[in-house]
């Protein structure tokens, strides 16, 4: 400080120097808390997930593609880690994954999380557009997929893979057929309507819609369903999605590949 004062041609103890010192202190005071607040704000979100869950995988891939730092909080569903009272109280009252904690702000539901992080500027626009007209196209898919693609793929997976594993009982052929029919009715819509005239679901390039959808469809591999046989467009599109998302796509699907006993490109 005194050296600076000398350089500025001020003598020690002069009024000017005092004023300068005060100004410095002032600016330091102003700076310090700002820096602290920024540091607090910068702490990465905590991401609670299990790669066995489809929307968990989707967000995982999206975060990785976005280069968004996050704190890894793996929740082992198979060990019932989401069913504890602690989890319910501190992490997600709905006791599911995925969910996040952004500096105390807890949020569940994958699509709500995606929209929240996009509004915070964490998701690149090419994955989830900001311009409302383009965004609404992606939203249209995301809202459509819950009770159509997601529900029916998940029911098929549950009936053929999960329930027999949990109960030791094999489902009847008729039940499997019915589940398959429901699922294929929606795969038909993906093949014929969503992929009618574009390389990806909501336009010519990869968007979050594709990632959510692919994660749902990949899950059926574990139930020995091969979507690639009946659906040539879905087959080609899945390849494109995987290519556009790798290496993260394969990391997220490691479990799925392993459990289904199929490599990423293998036929079932």
């Amino acid at each position: 400080m005194s050296r600076l004062a000398t350089l500025l041609g001020l003598s020690q103890g002069s009024e000017d120097q005092q004023r300068l010192q005060m100004a410095f202190q002032e600016s330091n005071r102003a700076k310090t808390p700002t820096r602290q607040t920024t540091n607090l704000k910068m702490s990465p979100i905590k991401y609670y997930y299990d790669l066995m869950s489809q929307p968990s995988r989707a967000l995982f891939i999206i975060f990785r593609l976005s280069g968004m730092p996050f704190e890894d909080r793996v929740v082992a569903l198979r060990n019932g880690e989401h069913l504890t009272d602690d989890f319910k109280r501190d992490i997600n009252r709905f006791q599911r994954v995925p969910c996040i904690n952004d500096n105390g702000n807890k949020l569940a539901e994958s699509v709500a999380i995606l929209r929240y992080l996009s509004a915070k500027g964490k998701i690149p626009e090419h994955l989830y557009p900001k311009y409302f007209v383009d965004q609404s196209r992606v939203d249209e898919f995301l809202e459509w997929h819950h009770i159509s693609l997601r529900l029916t793929c998940a029911m098929y997976f549950r009936t053929v893979w999960l329930e027999p594993l949990l109960t030791g009982r094999t489902p009847t052929e008729a039940k499997i057929e019915m589940m398959r029919m429901h699922m294929e009715r929606n795969l038909d819509v993906v093949e014929e309507v969503w992929l009618e005239s574009s390389d990806f679901l909501t336009g010519p390039t990869l968007r979050v819609a594709d990632i959510f959808a692919a994660c749902e469809i990949e899950q059926t591999r574990m139930a020995d369903y091969d979507v690639r046989i009946k659906y040539p467009k879905i087959r080609a599109w899945l390849k494109r999605v995987r290519q556009s998302c790798n290496p993260h796509y394969d990391v997220a699907h490691e479990f799925v590949y392993k459990i289904s006993g199929t490599g990423p490109q293998a036929k079932l």
Binding site: R93, F94, N105, L107, A108, E109, S110, V111, A112, R115, Y116, A119, K120, F132, V133, Q135, S136, D139, E140, L142, E143, W144, H146, I147, R150, L151, V189, V193
Partner: protein, 228 residues
């Protein structure tokens, strides 16, 4: 640009009612384009040109077509044509409403919709016989598991997201009300918060709430003033 959007809907569809009530409350002008599902008007080639998924609700704004009620709410909101009170613009408040809107698909819409379809829509229209008591009980159980979530987890305050009515409430109430057609009324004893909340939502969004639900009320042969 200033031309009103065209709104394609049927009051027999839960999200159609919800969006209609939301737009009316927000005083959003729109061209009324009812699509009679019971006459299968949504399955015509003409309607396919309006909505390739052949469902309601849908909108046409100039030459822009959009389906999916929640996507439509967001589109209109971003265009400045949806009440900010009903769908907030601030980051955190919006995330809370979104959390519900995303949850309700599988949490409310699927169980209530399945019950409605199996116990009213299909038997009334001769598509399928009335299910066995056992099956009905299972459907009711699925509904009530989720009403329990609404009661214990969502309704910490007067409305689903805090102290004020938002689209979340309108979507939720529209789904739950539809079950009146199956003679299912939310029990005040079993779900006291949900029952009071349903009445509150109706009150806060009337006269539009009743207008949109007129068909449901009539068909379920219950006086509008009946307790929910």
């Amino acid at each position: 640009m200033s031309k009103a959007i065209k709104y394609y809907y049927d009051f027999l569809s839960q999200p159609s009612r919800a969006l209609w009530i939301g737009m009316k409350l927000g005083k959003i002008p729109f061209d009324d384009c009812p699509v009679a599902l019971r006459k299968r008007e949504h399955l015509t080639d003409e309607y396919k040109k309006i909505n390739r998924f052949q469902k309601v609700p849908a909108i046409v704004d100039g030459n822009f077509q959009l389906s999916e009620s929640v996507a439509i709410v967001r589109y209109l909101s971003d265009k400045g044509q949806f009440s900010e009170k009903l769908y907030p613009k601030s980051l955190e408040a919006r995330a809370r409403v979104d959390e519900f809107l995303e949850w309700q698909h599988l949490g409310i819409r699927v169980p209530c919709g399945l019950f409605f379809r199996s116990v009213w829509l299909y038997p009334v229209n001769g598509i399928a016989p009335m299910p066995k008591t056992e099956k009905i009980q299972k459907l009711v159980k699925d509904v009530e598991t989720n009403l329990e979530f609404v009661e214990r987890l969502w309704l910490e305050k007067d409305f689903l997201i805090g102290d004020q009515l938002t689209v979340a409430d309108i979507f939720g109430a529209s789904e739950i009300n539809q079950m009146k057609l199956c003679q299912y009324n939310v029990s005040e004893k079993q779900f006291p918060k949900v029952a009071k909340w349903l009445a509150r939502v109706r009150e806060s969004s009337n006269p539009y709430f009743d207008e949109a639900h007129n068909f449901v009320y009539e068909k379920s042969k219950q006086a509008v003033s009946a307790k929910v």
